[in-house]
Assembly symmetry: C2
Homo-oligomer: 487 residues x 2
Amino acid sequence: MVVFAPRYVWLVMSVFFLHLCLDRCVQAVRLLEKEFEQKVDHFDFSSRAGRTYKQRYLMTDQFWRKGVGPIFLYTGNEGDVWSFANNTGLMFELAPSFGALVVFAEHRYYGTSLPFGTLSFERENVGLLSIEQTLADFATLLLHLQRDLGAEKCPVIAFGGSYGGMLSAYFRMKYPNLVAGALAASSPLYLVAGLGDEFQFFRDVTADFERYHHKCPNMVRAGFAAIKSLASKQQWVALSSKMRLCGDLNSSNDLPYLEGWIRNAFTVLAMMDYPYKTTFMSPMPANPVNVACDILLKSDDPLTGLRDAAGIMYNSSGTKNCYNIFEDFKPCADPTGCGVGWGSLAWDYQACTEINLLCSSNGKTDMFPVISFTSALREQYCQKQWGVTPRQDWLATQYWGTDLRAASNIIFSNGDLDPWANGGIRKNLSQSLVSIMISGGAHHLDLRSSNPKDPPSVIQARKQEELLIRGFIQEAVMSERSTFERD
Amino acid sequence: MVVFAPRYVWLVMSVFFLHLCLDRCVQAVRLLEKEFEQKVDHFDFSSRAGRTYKQRYLMTDQFWRKGVGPIFLYTGNEGDVWSFANNTGLMFELAPSFGALVVFAEHRYYGTSLPFGTLSFERENVGLLSIEQTLADFATLLLHLQRDLGAEKCPVIAFGGSYGGMLSAYFRMKYPNLVAGALAASSPLYLVAGLGDEFQFFRDVTADFERYHHKCPNMVRAGFAAIKSLASKQQWVALSSKMRLCGDLNSSNDLPYLEGWIRNAFTVLAMMDYPYKTTFMSPMPANPVNVACDILLKSDDPLTGLRDAAGIMYNSSGTKNCYNIFEDFKPCADPTGCGVGWGSLAWDYQACTEINLLCSSNGKTDMFPVISFTSALREQYCQKQWGVTPRQDWLATQYWGTDLRAASNIIFSNGDLDPWANGGIRKNLSQSLVSIMISGGAHHLDLRSSNPKDPPSVIQARKQEELLIRGFIQEAVMSERSTFERD
């Protein structure tokens, strides 16, 4: 779960047009950027009770049947809210036929929604970065919008992808009074609760490369072996030169940076393995896994092959002469990557507290070097970095962990190209806890706008999602009167 | 909801025997008093993350089928945990046939469970007194016990009365992964969420007195009129002497204390209108409402009648020569009474933050003087007292307010003598959200031990509760494997 580093410049204005073409380009989406005066602390009524911050959200009512149509709320995750609006076309495509109001809420401590401004990540302030506070933000914002817009009777559907999908599911679980149903796309609910297999993630990254060509993972292994070999001979200059690094590696202490830098690139290639060009986590060609494998397979030298495959991510513009791995890659509490900037700090903190991401590679069931991330290593890192001890059991306690039986009206969608899929829910748990598997789908492909290159599976998945969402809304409308009124 | 002022002396030892006779007095209940090192702040992982406090709980395993039988957990409310153990005999009566482990968890900021010791109610510390923190305490304690005792597979049933019943319901709603079902006895979930009618509570108190004798409320009204009359003539000495006050009233500023003092007594008489002697909130004769009405009806002077009826509560020992109303009664954010001591501070704070208790009397639909408690008055009081602004919508937002549809496996029991009943759930909401009405039942009579004077309705209610609880446990056992394992 890499944090999104926006590579484009935002215009500072309050109305934006998304480059989405609905109804065959008849209309563009007009998104308003707004701010809500949000409580910094929902759970302590005293010490910082009066303090607020400006939570950013995006909204369009251009499709809304005012006061009647549903509210589609994207429960923003670890990044600038615009990156989710730009990559969740599904909501805009569904909105016209539903007559829906569309809202994207930014997650606290990301984007511009910093509760303590530039001091947000000081130790005395960062503690209010939590899933609990974030859900309470969404609830409070939602109530405000419903009142402000005369939308009290409008059923709400929560949308989210990846960690945002976890949030949409949690939001329905914890606040079913506010949310009629949720679409949780590519959300590894089990994995982050500390369940599952530590080697699953990188094994599934590897499987994506193997699927394209059975020799591809071996080329990656050969590349890493070549690095190891040069390193063991202390040939730092030769290694750095071959990898085209801006500065030379100096000792074996630098090696994990290089290995991590490469592993991260392959992780992103697997997650973003869409059948068309995208600019989500970083600019990517169509089918980046295939592109990377082709580079590796055609390369005479596995080491330079590895470098150029990583370059798909790190040098997408083709303009870099050398790689600054220490800038591109920072070790953090998420072995799949924390990205850079504010967001990376925030995500690092979350991975040090509530969210368990104990993913290791072992070089056997996967194609990467042995890079372990155990509970002990995590504790050590998080103590040093943030002065916190991760609470491994918390997510399983607070968000229902292994046992989702009591939940209802949640769609769990997953793509089989997505290395996160096997950390999530892959079977129906009840009539209204529905799993949708998308063959040939990468990380929440279903949330993206329709594309001529979409595999039939995702077209079918979106149809099923639409049907289920209609059901959730109908159920909410049918039993519109509250239990209180019915009493 | 008055806080319990324990009138008996605790022995400082770790094993206590409850004076409960099970199986016709074959065995007494052996309760262990224990402490758990609990987090002071579950939601801020940084600022006070390391800090813990000693949460008290009571436990007996004498009926437990070790590792197999269920856990009966009382979700402690606003008072010393022993007072709940002493007044919730139902759990001990059910435990043997269920083979249950019985646990009573004390609520933070009550009894000895003070997160910051004697400084707990300082403004910088009191903010951690909240329902959210309290539920997280219960969850954390429960997980600890389950691991410590090898009880991971043992289904948990939450029990609670009044505010404790709200907590048991909320606990099932928010943590259904931990709790198979809940019995929420006499819990005014709607009222505290800010719904319902401000005059309902005192109207229903009045109805209890009217039920015994139609002239009784008029005697109360006459008593209050006599007070008013003397007060309007500034005859403070005569009034104080007739009311047998320890110190004279001095001005009309003192009048609300006298009126509140009396209204509180009648409230407690109605809530504690059990058919036998009790010592719960204070020592009470059997059928205290009848006793009070008999006093009023037999009295020549409505004023002294009022005084002696209040004396049932304030002078149960019969040893007081005069009443110190300023000691017995302190105005607070709960117009039905906050009691005295630590607990009263804590409850006042809760009624100033999350819990809405906007109950007023109007002298028309009830027998009391006009004593209003509006949102505005509450805000003013809470700002002055605690520097906080009540969040009126919070409980309806956070704990599902008017809409409990998505919940399951909760029994809502209410007695028709209980003035809180009409603030709660009085109809079945679904197959597993079951309302039980107890004719002739006062405040959570069903939770008390069996008594030869029990009305048939409560015997029937307890049987139905037992049956439903068996169903909740069976359901949990049948689907023992988690959704994760089934996946």
